[in-house]
Symmetry: C2
Subunit: 340 residues, 2 copies
């Protein structure tokens, strides 16, 4: 009788043991917002001690503008894809961020832009790398997804494609600001080589969104690395590294030392850990940024929203421009650690 | 007493329940070869009915030559990295395969080559995209890994980098064969548009190896898609999509409809399923190619070797040029299904 009892109880216990990891997920589901949007404007050595109050105010206002651009769409029942594009275009147009206008410059003094975009419903995606004349690289990434059979286009070929579909084209000068020109000039003169603070600012912008239909989308746009050479491509235009979205798990956009993010397939790894290990978004994102990447001195962060509207924004650098908004009225804008 | 007994036994049972998935892995470990090498020369609509005996013989001989080039290095205690390069270069130099000499042509009649390489020990990696004058793209990918801080370089920039390190440079004509020129001409004349058989042959070459030290490495090299435009980049130069290696799990090289392989982060997903779901290499690779990708009509295959020397070579197309060799003397070369 004693053994019979054991035989009956053990299968139940085994099941309980295997499912206990889901407790957190179940709790999170209860608070699912109608929509949620999260953005970043780059991570790196952003220190309060080196920031003027005026500049900080300008960054916070720019993040607020980008958040609003995306949230307005979601609030009215618009698509996550449209919200992501709107928020990123707001930052592309703002010279404070390293994307679109205000992008950092190559060793040759040109702006060479990368972007990628992914739709969580179809898991279709698009990307452009090394483009110089497309006003909105994120719009071009979406165009590649929507209007071609390809995922990634590069250089002049991508520009010919974008132009043929009527995207707005500009001279490369449109992207170049006086600030970036003088930054490059100082680097080339060797004056800034030892200023790690400037070297380690990984400007990139990104957005991830959940809409009222339950669809996820994510996008990333960047000017890449200051003083880059050799046609260097970072993680921003790489699906799986800089950007990933899947309605079954989450939408992610990364910012940081791109080479490490490629090698660690960071954006997809968040989704993989959620799907395969049944980790919560927070646990998966924190592990990758704060443990796995930190252990190899890979600086950066990511922003993500999961299918239940949970937000994660881990970063292991001193700062990350970031913010989120939810239908519940929850709202946040921050730059440094310990702001939440 | 009855309950006390239950309390003692349950933890043991729970542990047993969680570890039972490892049984297969343990069994596999017993047969670990000293080294193992697996190659592919592309997957697609390769039908025996459309192949001449002479051409089939030439392909099998070319695969044998590539296998030997890699195996010779492993047998003598050389590094997996060197074996991967040797096997791939053998195929790059053979005009039968769509990589290096004999690569398919762009819409403009040029050869534009992509390659990527990853070291499983350091998980460092390198890639080049859209290069036209580097004789061995796979050597350039390794050079990016070894001699730069970057992972990926594209176009002319990558060529300048390769040249500065003394890699052999050639005119674009070096890669162009009469066969590819006439293929492109027929496509441009619209004669082949309906010949799905030709359209769906995804030429790419790749290799994955395990050496006597237990180190894994993988690489992929391709001419991309015939008649490609717009600077299209496929999965071959994308770490995580076309190539991945990690000593903790496996080394993988993919071939197929690249856009689907990027969106599904195929190469890394094999490693993720092994690490997170504790699946065997065979189970993970088969699931991705034969279930996940097949379900969305994503044609192609992959080759992989795990840390214990197990080999997987699933493909969902009608054929895949492939082969492997192990220190145990096991040896295989095949093109169609049901050859093993």
């Amino acid at each position: 009788m004693r053994y019979l009892c054991l035989l009956l109880v053990i299968p139940l216990m085994l099941q309980w043991g295997c499912e206990s990891g889901n407790a957190q997920t179940t709790a999170e589901k209860k608070a699912r917002p109608e929509y949620a949007l999260v953005i970043h404007g780059g991570a790196g050595a952003i220190k309060k001690s080196k920031m003027t109050p005026e500049l900080e105010k300008a960054y916070r206002a720019a993040l607020e503008t980008a958040l609003q651009a995306g949230e307005t769409i979601l609030k009215e029942g618009g698509a996550a894809q449209d919200a992501v594009i709107a928020a990123i275009q707001s930052m592309e147009e703002n010279p404070l961020f390293n994307s679109g206008k205000g992008a950092v410059l190559t060793n040759q003094g040109k702006a060479e832009l990368d972007a990628s975009f992914m739709d969580g419903k179809s898991r279709n995606s698009g990307a452009v790398a090394g483009v110089r004349t497309i006003k909105s690289p994120i719009a071009a990434a979406r165009l590649v997804m929507d209007s071609s059979k390809h995922v990634m286009m590069s250089g002049e070929g991508a520009e010919i494609f974008a132009k043929s579909y009527g995207l707005e084209m500009v001279e490369n000068d449109y992207f170049i600001t006086e600030k970036r020109k003088s930054q490059l000039a100082r680097i080339l003169e060797g004056q800034m080589a030892s200023q790690a603070g400037m070297k380690k600012k990984y400007g990139t912008v990104g957005c991830a969104a959940l809409d009222k239909e339950g669809n996820l989308a994510a996008g990333t746009s960047t000017g890449g690395m200051m003083n880059k050479r050799y046609g260097r491509v970072g993680d921003a235009p790489i699906i799986g590294a800089g950007t990933y979205a899947d309605n079954a798990s989450c939408a992610v956009s990364c910012t940081g030392h791109g080479e490490y993010f490629i090698r660690n397939v960071v954006a997809y790894d968040v989704a993989a850990r959620m799907s395969y290990l049944e980790e919560s978004l927070e646990k998966a994102a924190n592990y990758i940024i704060m443990d796995k990447l930190k252990a190899i001195n890979a600086s950066g962060g990511l922003i993500a929203v999961d299918k239940d509207g949970n937000i994660a924004m881990p970063f292991n650098s001193s700062g990350m421009y970031r913010g989120y908004a939810k239908s519940t009225g929850e709202r946040f804008i921050g730059i440094y650690h310990d702001e939440e």
